[in-house]
């Protein structure tokens, strides 16, 4: 829990406050960042950028609008996406032929996966799919919001999610097959 005292200290750029803020928020921020970025050096860069942005723009934080954790998580997501975009790691395919998909049913299947399986699958998921998947299903952004964040169309966002789910389905099947054979 970040107290007002810590926030005020960060505003005054006091070292103890920044340290306390970092130590309390870093694990959570890291959890978010590691979903988007897998390389440790890159993760470090994004962590650095995220906290620099947090301390730099802390005067913009309004406790009436939401929790500090939500505010910092938005900064972390933005920084992760900026990093992917800057390094041209983020890409989206505009599908030519989209096969119809019952997303709800597929999501139920995904929900059945255990924590390790899900994290393993997401780790190897193509980066474009993964970003949209995380932003929509984990962060709860709508496709219009994702379109704005990623500078793509809402349609592309929808199709990326659909493809991400298909990709996951395929991997779940393979995983199950492996388990059966194994």
């Amino acid at each position: 829990m970040i107290t007002n005292k810590v926030i005020k200290g960060c505003l005054a750029k006091e070292r103890w406050a920044m340290q306390q803020c970092y130590e309390q928020c870093a694990p959570y921020v890291f959890t978010i960042i590691k979903n988007y970025i897998y390389n440790e050096t890159d993760q470090q860069d994004v962590m650095q950028e995220t906290f620099a942005q947090v301390f730099y723009s802390i005067q913009n934080y309004d406790s009436n609008k939401g929790k500090f954790k939500s505010w910092i998580s938005q900064i972390a997501i933005n920084q992760a996406i900026n990093f992917l975009r800057k390094n041209k790691k983020l890409s989206f395919l505009v599908p030519l032929n989209e096969e119809a998909l019952d997303i709800k049913e597929e999501i139920t299947k995904i929900e059945r996966l255990d924590k390790i399986q899900l994290n393993q699958c997401i780790e190897i998921m193509p980066i474009g799919y993964r970003t949209v998947f995380l932003l929509n299903l984990v962060e709860g952004y709508t496709h219009d919001e994702i379109a704005q964040i990623l500078k793509i169309t809402a349609q592309t966002s929808r199709s990326q999610l659909s493809r991400a789910i298909k990709w996951l389905r395929k991997h779940i099947q393979q995983h199950q097959k492996t388990l059966t054979y194994g």
């Binding site: 730099y56 505009v94 980066i127």
Partner: protein, 495 residues
């Protein structure tokens, strides 16, 4: 889709922070980056402030330069010094006439006990000159337009009549043969009725009054005064008639410049515009990805002056409107390779063998930013009514409003279109004329600043905003009603 907490909880289990990301390891890096950010922000702030300040300074400079030029011209070319130049505007002539008339009367009244009053006698068929009535200054002259002033100066009688409380003069003048007076209606008659005034007094006093007015115009009056008979003598009708006739012959012919009613102008300049796409996914995507950029245009304009303050203009305008379609295009290819195999030992033969256990997908991604520059060429006919504001004989401004009819001449480039309308799947397609309406109607408003170089030529800077009323796009899927802001500089010829 709403946040899925099952998935979120599985993914977002708080991870342990690696030692490389502890505060001790990160503190220095964060501090360095923070300093950079603060430095950049300062610079950015300065840059954005600089841009705003630059704009303000530019506007201020324009205003100062405009005011200085205006002041310079007013100082250098005061209206009084230009009474004889043909390039003087009619407004200035009107002001000058008005000023001189009032000065004449004021000065005359200061230097003589005689009261002077001005009468403008309308050009009636039966002109009675109205000498037997006490005239009052005709205020209409102050409001007169150049055209009506011109008519009045040419056709009416400007009569300066000296009157006093004694009825002698009026009675005497009333006794004039009306036909004689009306046959020379352009004469100015000065008389004096004070019994004790000498001829010299009369002449001196009245010359002062006369000299204050336009010399050319009142030349005849001066001649008349210089030959005024001694007061003790009887002024007879024949003498007055002769002098009036003499004065009529010597009356100078004053040519006032005619007011040019028409002007022809050529304009060119830059335009900024936006497509204003709305409605459906396609409209939203167009609004997001296709933006109007700096464009250009030219026009020929003809203007007819309805009145000194109102004019009607029309013409032909050509505009080449550019837009930029900017999007990311990514292509990936997934190649599946059966490369993970598992080694087994046959329990029967004891020989080792391998089986494919997992396919591996190799994902290759090509990413590129694609920019298309589109061109919409329009030809239009604006009809504008303008209200002019005259600041001086050189500068005037006008505001105008009107309608514009336009035709879409040419389309080039690529834009977003529906690949599948039912499912609202968009794609990049060539711009096709069939998808656009050829006829366009727009409403416009403009503000112009004009500088009169001389009687025939003027320079105009105009800022115009057009808002399309009709839909540029002829499909029902979305609307395109562009807004165009044009900044043109033009040269006008008045005739």
């Amino acid at each position: 889709m709403a946040k899925n907490l099952h998935i979120k909880n599985k993914i977002r289990e708080e991870a342990k922070l690696p030692p490389s990301m502890s505060w001790d390891a990160m503190e220095g890096k964060i501090a360095t980056r923070l300093n950079e950010l603060e430095g950049t922000a300062q610079a950015k702030g300065n840059t954005s402030n600089f841009a705003k300040r630059s704009l303000l300074v530019l506007l201020l400079l324009l205003v100062v330069a405009g005011s200085a030029t205006l002041y310079y011209f007013i100082q250098k070319n005061p209206i009084e010094n230009h009474s004889d130049t043909p390039s003087q505007s009619h407004q200035a002539i009107a002001q000058k006439q008005e000023k001189e008339h009032s000065l004449t009367l004021e000065k005359a009244e200061k230097n003589t006990p005689i009261k002077f009053e001005e009468k403008i006698i309308p050009p009636q068929k039966d002109n009675n000159v109205l000498l037997d009535k006490r005239g009052t200054i005709n205020k209409q002259i102050k409001k007169a337009s150049p055209k009506s002033l011109n008519n009045k100066l040419n056709k009416n009688t400007n009569t300066f009549v000296a009157v006093d409380d004694s009825k002698t003069t009026l009675d005497y003048l009333s006794a004039f043969d009306e036909k004689t007076i009306s046959s020379s209606p352009t004469q100015q008659v000065f008389v004096e009725s004070q019994g004790n005034a000498t001829e010299q007094n009369l002449i001196d006093k009245n010359i002062v009054a006369v000299e204050s007015a336009d010399k050319r115009k009142l030349l005849s009056t001066q001649n008349l005064l210089l030959n005024f008979p001694p007061i003790e003598n009887t002024i007879d009708e024949t003498w007055i008639t002769d002098k009036l006739n003499e004065a009529a012959i010597s009356k100078p012919n004053i040519d006032l410049p005619t007011v040019p009613k028409w002007s022809l102008g050529l304009y060119s300049g830059a335009t900024l515009w936006q497509l204003n796409a709305k409605g459906s996914t396609l409209g939203d995507e167009k609004a997001q990805f296709e933006k109007g950029i700096f464009s250009y245009g030219a026009s020929a304009k003809i203007d007819y002056k309805l009145h000194s303050k109102w004019s009607l203009s029309t013409g032909l305008e050509w505009q080449s409107l550019q837009s930029k379609l900017d999007y990311y295009n990514e292509k990936d290819s997934i190649v599946t390779r059966n490369i993970l195999t598992q080694q087994f030992v046959s329990p029967i033969t004891g020989n080792p063998y391998s089986e494919v256990r997992q396919d591996v997908e190799l994902v290759g991604i090509a990413w590129k930013e694609v920019i298309h520059y589109n061109n919409y060429q329009m030809l239009s006919i604006p009809v504008v009514i303008n209200r002019h504001f005259h600041f001086s004989n050189k500068w005037n401004a006008s505001i105008g409003t009107g309608l514009q009819y336009g035709r879409l001449l040419k389309l080039e480039g690529r834009s977003l279109g529906y690949k599948n309308v039912a499912e609202e799947i968009t794609d990049i397609v060539d711009l096709q004329k069939d998808n656009f309406s050829k006829n366009q109607v727009a409403v416009l408003a403009q503000i112009s600043l004009n500088y009169q170089i001389n009687q025939y030529w003027s320079l105009t800077f105009s800022n115009r905003i057009n808002q399309n009323l009709s839909n540029l796009n002829n499909t029902d899927t979305h609307t395109l009603r562009p807004s165009i802001m044009s900044n043109y500089l033009g040269l006008n010829y008045h005739f």
